[in-house]
């Protein structure tokens, strides 16, 4: 009997010769991540347990991205508390100020997370790194504390679900549309506690930026992790970034899956998730007339340079409609600089955009772009729960950068085809 890639990575990190779904294992962790919201609790727990030194200062990443630049006194206090810990522990991967980017864009970009790794993060979108062929999953702050102490954590081995995606994606259809479509099909608990493995010829040709957007949203289907078999595209991405060895795992041909779902990507159109669940998905042609007050292009889902280039393609010829607040958030300082050098920021400014510093702020309704009562936003983010971006009576519609840009131009949810 063969194993899917997820089980192979877990087996190797647990030092086991065999493994099966449902089994509880203790496994070694390669990278443990915390942010400015979740780390304070982890640090307090670490200290309470008598922790003096983290298990490995090179394997803990602390990224102060959620309320950066500090939005108020209490968020500044939280960051100060983490900073003191990071300095005391000489944490190698500590990011704040001009170094900080949105964690799930930053860690792959800096080569901190690599193929074959076992990564945990006290942030639900830690599953993003599955795009590299790693096992990556979100956990709580206490789990992070346990890993900082011991370098290990308990896991329940997930069953794997396989998604076979074939066909050439039409113009304006992206990885974001694929994953929205999948979540729309299976629901927000469609992959509860499971691994989502993405394969098929569409996936073999899919750029890394799109893979990262897809793995990012695995949690929105309830999954433990999303994963892609590493290949030439992975190698291309990782080379030049990695500063330590990494390993490619692949699923056995006779691996056992809990379910197999096949999708023809050539038939897809851009997708939009309506309020208030990421599974409330419609094709853009069924969106109807939805006027918007804000368009947000950014986040760990779609704030990479590739996303900004797509938006710039549209804003080169069109401005944001009056009455629409357009906010563009390059996900990391590196992406910001790239966008500057490529002239994208000028295009956005000419189109009427506010350019935000790299920050989670607007995505989670923290700061830098909050919605008022009754307002509607189209966003390239990953969650549209009640109150996610502001007032409990505001609404968030999730889509790709192309759709968010076209919608900003037309003042309503729209396909780029309409321009």
């Amino acid at each position: 009997m063969g194993y899917p890639i997820t089980e192979k990575i877990l087996m190797a990190h647990a030092g086991l010769k065999e493994i099966s779904p449902g089994q509880l294992i203790n496994a070694k962790v390669d990278i443990a991540l915390g942010n400015d919201i979740t780390s304070p609790i982890a640090i307090k727990e670490f200290r309470k347990a008598g922790g003096l030194k983290v298990f490995d200062k090179d394997k803990v990443a602390l990224v102060l991205d959620h309320f950066t630049p500090n939005k108020d006194i209490s968020s500044a206090q939280q960051c100060k508390f983490i900073r003191q810990f990071a300095v005391e522990q000489q944490i190698t991967h500590f990011f704040e100020g001009g170094q900080v980017g949105i964690e799930h864009a930053l860690l792959p970009e800096r080569g901190i997370v690599l193929p074959g790794d076992l990564i945990i993060g006290a942030d639900s979108h830690t599953c993003t790194y599955g795009a590299l062929g790693a096992f990556a999953t979100g956990v709580g702050s206490t789990d992070l504390a346990a890993v900082m102490l011991t370098g290990e954590l308990w896991f329940k081995v997930p069953q794997s679900m396989k998604f076979i995606i074939t066909g050439k994606m039409p113009k304006w259809v992206s990885g974001k549309d694929l994953i929205l479509n999948i979540i729309g099909r299976i629901g927000v608990d469609g992959a509860l506690h499971k691994a989502m493995e993405f394969t098929g010829d569409t996936i073999s040709n899919l750029p890394m930026a799109d893979r990262l957007s897809m793995a990012n949203m695995a949690i929105e289907a309830g999954a433990k992790n999303g994963i892609f078999a590493p290949d030439a595209i992975t190698k291309d991405y990782v080379e030049g970034r990695a500063k330590r060895p990494y390993k490619f795992y692949e699923s056995d041909a006779n691996a056992v899956y809990e379910g197999i779902i096949e999708i023809d990507a050539s038939k897809l159109e851009p997708q939009v998730a309506f309020p208030h669940l990421p599974s409330n998905v419609k094709g853009i042609s069924h969106a109807g007339i939805v006027k918007i007050d804000q368009s947000l292009i950014g986040s760990c889902t779609n704030g990479r340079i590739e996303d900004l280039r797509i938006a710039a393609q549209i804003f080169k010829k069109h401005k944001a409609a009056s009455g629409v607040r357009l906010i563009v958030v390059p996900a990391t300082p590196f992406i910001y600089k790239q966008a500057l050098q490529e002239g994208l920021l000028e295009i956005f400014l000419n189109a009427g955009a506010v350019i935000s510093p790299p920050s989670c702020g607007a995505c989670l309704g923290g700061h830098l772009g909050i919605l008022a009562e009754g307002e509607k936003a189209i966003a390239t983010t990953n969650r549209n729960f009640v109150g996610r971006m502001g007032h409990p009576k505001s609404e968030v519609y999730l889509a790709s950068p192309a759709v968010a840009a076209a919608s900003a131009v037309l003042g309503r949810i729209a396909s780029p085809e309409e321009l």
């Binding site: 919201i37 609790i41 309320f67 789990d143 309704g365 923290g366 969650r383 729960f385 009640v386 409990p392």
Partner: protein, 171 residues
């Protein structure tokens, strides 16, 4: 353990933004978080509940972010345990790691109205609907999780094994 209290009923997919909105995450103080528990699902929630009351959710309770502030807010608000048809996985993990008791039951949800009293007996594995004298079985907790709860959560569990842990103060 035995938990007894009034049931506060919520729907499917109650997410962590409803349990504790991100706008309050500039602190991790349990009492401050408790003041906003379930605010975006029911703004009056914290003024209505009494210590020991029980939250009853539908499918996928606690979906969304990894914030441990969610079980912390619920526990600090005085809720004794959470029962749901199913739990989202990070919430499930966090609840055990924090020592907030949670139980899965498919049948209870339809059988009980909001405001009714129930008794949960985690040892016997039963939930009793007091007024109607009806009893439901709850799914057993895996032995490893029972050990975690018995030890008082993940960190205390690890502290019990501290001989193996290099980074720990051997006091």
């Amino acid at each position: 353990m035995i938990f007894q209290g009034k049931v506060w009923k919520f729907g499917n997919n109650i997410d962590t933004d409803a349990i504790i909105p991100a706008r309050y995450l500039t602190t991790s103080d349990p009492q401050e978080l408790a003041a906003h528990c379930m605010e975006d699902a029911d703004p009056q929630f914290v003024t209505k509940i009494k210590a020991g009351d029980i939250i009853l959710g539908g499918e996928n309770f606690g979906c969304g972010s990894s914030r441990e502030h969610a079980p912390i807010a619920i526990k600090a608000a005085g809720i004794s345990c959470v029962i749901a048809k199913s739990f989202a996985r990070i919430f499930y993990r966090n609840a055990f790691n924090m020592g907030l008791p949670i139980f899965e039951s498919q049948e209870l949800y339809e059988a009980v109205q909001e405001g009714e009293e129930i008794t949960v007996d985690s040892v016997a594995g039963t939930i009793t609907l007091v007024s109607k004298n009806k009893t439901f079985r709850i799914n057993p907790i895996p032995p490893f999780m029972e050990q975690l709860i018995a030890d008082g959560g993940l960190m205390k569990h690890l502290a019990g094994k501290r001989v193996n842990i290099a980074g720990m103060n051997p006091k």
